[in-house]
Symmetry: C2
Subunit: 487 residues, 2 copies
């Protein structure tokens, strides 16, 4: 058993019952007390639908208030939320829910999936369908044990199989506290959430909300104009973004300043190009660059704006409860980045092998390469060599390769990330085929049923052979050279 605290939503509803918890661009608003009551009611309906302590329940939804209520409801039952990326194909989704042992999937009312058309073994019910249930008079959790599992979020792995990252209540708690010690806590804060809640960066905003007693301005999807307006006129003080969003916000702003009350543009989801950071600086936008991953429950390293210029390109220093080491350094000081702290996952679901591979004595091997400067600031030199980050989404080449080699006309595939002005990177594929008639369109059509759209190769090159080293391992660097020559 870990430390025990009162249920965080119940507590916040007691401390600040009438304070706004969530508001939307559609003019909706819900207080902490209302959020608690709605979540408790939903919990009792879920209990009536058969959900109990320890059950893993899929949540497949775009950003909406009902999704947040469902997540809190599961915490009242001691059930575990398996957050599913709505962009995935049914094939990909089925892998995740099967792997997690999910028996029930909750989806938003607009979902294309229904109980009837879902091909997996799970029950699938919409939020509204759950709302039709009676409330079962079960005892709800009044306390949270920080060592208990709360959420599972899948992340693609180098092996091509997605791995379920387990987050305890404690992981989320310490992430929120680490962020507060870094950014400060102001009672006027309002955090805009436009990142998907099924990613840990989006989810974390709603947990900070109940822990801090802070309203969230919730957007179903990113729209530069709406976000810009919310900052300008709705008192938003903090926004979490990925690079492509920052670019669009900057062009929407056209150099005009944000109000003084806007105090943090938290930038995550992969490295940011220097010109963009310089442009943000010029526009007086307080960008906090950050580095983190699903396994660290969102940011674990952050660069504050006062260092944005003199440490340009750095990811900053680890949050207060976090630690960082560079292991197996080369002569240039570059080595693998290891991180540790109470916000780091205890491991992958049902996967002790992968867990042991990356977690030793509390230290997480990130697979990323980086170095520290003389002041201890982290510079990421290269994300996991085989990781492509496209618009904030992680893509593993091996996953795409393993799908495409399933096509009988394809002999070999090599996938790499191509630099892209808008998305940061996009996946491109090099194909060796023995068919003289295979077309790029046929490959894309095949990929469509296995891979989420953002994962599908945006460009396909037919080649005679793939570059391999003596050990017959694919040499991705040479593929990257080939792209550059291609322009």
């Amino acid at each position: 058993m870990g430390e025990v605290i009162p249920h965080w939503l119940t507590k916040q509803a007691f401390l600040a019952p009438d304070k706004c918890a969530i508001e939307t661009d559609k003019g909706e608003s819900i207080s902490f007390k209302e959020l608690k009551v709605a979540s408790e009611q939903f919990a009792r309906k879920l209990a009536e639908a058969g959900v109990g302590k320890g059950d893993r329940i899929g949540i497949l939804s775009t950003n909406q208030q009902a999704m947040v209520i469902a997540i809190h409801a599961l915490s009242y039952l001691g059930a575990v939320a398996v957050l599913l990326n709505t962009r995935l194909t049914e094939q990909e989704l089925r892998y995740q829910v099967d792997d997690a042992g999910v028996s029930l999937i909750l989806c938003n009312d607009q979902s294309t999936y229904t109980e009837d058309n879902w091909t997996g073994d799970q029950r699938l019910l919409s939020f509204s369908e759950i709302d039709q249930f009676e409330e079962k008079p079960v005892i709800l959790q009044e306390e949270l044990d920080l060592e208990d599992e709360f959420t599972v979020i899948y992340t693609s792995g180098t092996t091509g199989f997605a791995k379920g990252v387990i987050h305890t209540y404690g992981n989320h708690w310490w992430s929120a506290i680490g962020s507060a010690l870094n950014l400060g806590l102001d009672e006027r804060d309002k955090w805009l959430a436009t990142l998907p809640i099924f990613h840990v960066g989006g989810l974390s905003i709603f947990l900070k909300s109940v822990i801090y007693g802070m309203p969230v301005y919730l957007l179903e999807k990113f729209d530069a104009k709406t976000v810009d307006q919310a900052i300008e006129t709705n008192g938003v003080t903090i926004v979490s973004v990925v690079t492509v969003m920052l670019q669009r916000l900057l062009s929407e702003r056209e150099g005009r300043r944000y109000p003084e009350t806007f105090r943090c543009m938290l930038l995550g989801g992969g490295p940011a190009p220097l010109p963009l950071l310089e442009q943000a600086k010029k526009s007086h936008i307080p960008v906090f660059q950050s580095y983190g991953m699903t396994e660290t429950s969102s940011q674990i390293v952050t660069l504050s704006p006062e260092h944005a210029l003199n440490k340009l390109g750095s990811a900053g220093k680890p949050l207060f409860p976090g630690q960082l080491q560079i292991n197996e350094q080369g002569e240039d000081g570059v080595g693998e980045v290891f991180v540790k702290g109470p916000m780091v996952t205890k491991g992958y679901l049902h996967n002790p092998v992968e867990t042991e591979k990356v977690l030793q004595d509390g230290w997480l091997a990130t697979g990323d390469l980086g170095y520290l400067d003389e002041d201890g600031f982290l510079y990421i030199v290269e994300r996991r060599t085989d990781l492509i980050i496209s618009g904030g989404e992680n893509i593993y080449p091996s996953e795409i390769e393993s799908v495409l080699t399933g096509m009988k006309e394809i002999q070999e595939v090599g996938v790499v990330g191509k630099q892209d002005e808008i998305w940061g990177q996009i996946p491109v594929a090099f194909i060796v085929t023995n068919s003289s008639t295979l077309t790029k369109e046929e490959i894309d059509a095949y990929a469509e049923s296995y891979l989420a759209a953002y994962k599908r190769p945006k460009k396909i090159y037919f080649v005679d052979t793939l570059p391999r080293n003596a050990a017959n391992k694919l040499v991705r660097k040479e593929l990257l050279h080939a792209i550059k020559e291609d322009g």
Copy 2:
């Protein structure tokens, strides 16, 4: 093993090396990096003096920077600081250090005690004497296990024997985080420390300092003019006070407003009289009333200023990680106050009997009586019936009674707290004697060698008998009536 975090001073020295950690009214100032270096050096000198992991080391000092350095130094060695009240008699001090198994006492250079005149079995060295030691090249703690013991502070008990309250690093950590979630965190914060550091309320300011990265304005002792000036011109934003200090500050202020930047007068150490709170409200002083004790690592319940008027007299609501229950309620809702949370001590040193008496399943029986109003605000009706709080110091009548009955001329003693305009309460004694010549002066002279000055009866009444109930138990209420009649 509990959660592990980086050593908090090392971490803050890394995050904000040049930021001021401590400044004094004498114009001294030390940065977090300097504080870290000084504490590490002092740790190595202590190691040379024989201090090692797990050792309990007494600290007997008035508020000064060297004391703070000594406390941090002990944390680098994994040793435990036993904080001693400088107002105690040698007899009282000897009881505590013997009970705690202290082998070495560190005292400030101005202490009346020296290695030569200290009559206990312990070594006693001043901070300056330790400074003369070489630095022993020992490995210092780079991490803190939140379940490890860090400090011991004695608190008088109903039995008359002081009990050593154990605080882990985690207790102090959670106390600091609970307070931050309540008060917010502003990078411009500066907390004035004039409460004794040997009390948990004073100590906690210096741990918040390293956890938040916040400067402390340190005063050796309370002086209304100096505190007033510090708020007016030195950018102090938060001050911790007890009632008598608030009274003096108010009369020093004479109704003038504090600067806008001053945001919190944290009032602890016993109940505050309503007229004082009303006067503070009139002067626009943001008083946060709080309720706590050594066992809760300082405040655990706090009333924010927005409720100061509509909840006048309430202690507020428990901090975010804390919980509160009223047990064995009477018909009027009044019952014993129980609290729970990760800031609550795990128990008393070497005292499983007393520990079990007050701690059950994480719930601490405070012994205080109170009730909750319909909004869940706590009202303390009566502190432990036998507890006297005088100028923020706790006094247990039983301790005084057991000392005075040691005087051969005294047959029986009953001690109670008399209301006092300045100190809140003062101890007064009712004496039954068989001597016709015993004088009040003789009693006071006798008490002087056993009891700290603030504990010695300020008024002595000779009586023929003490009021007792059928079970022969002293009925203190009747003594209180007698005082009132006395005027």
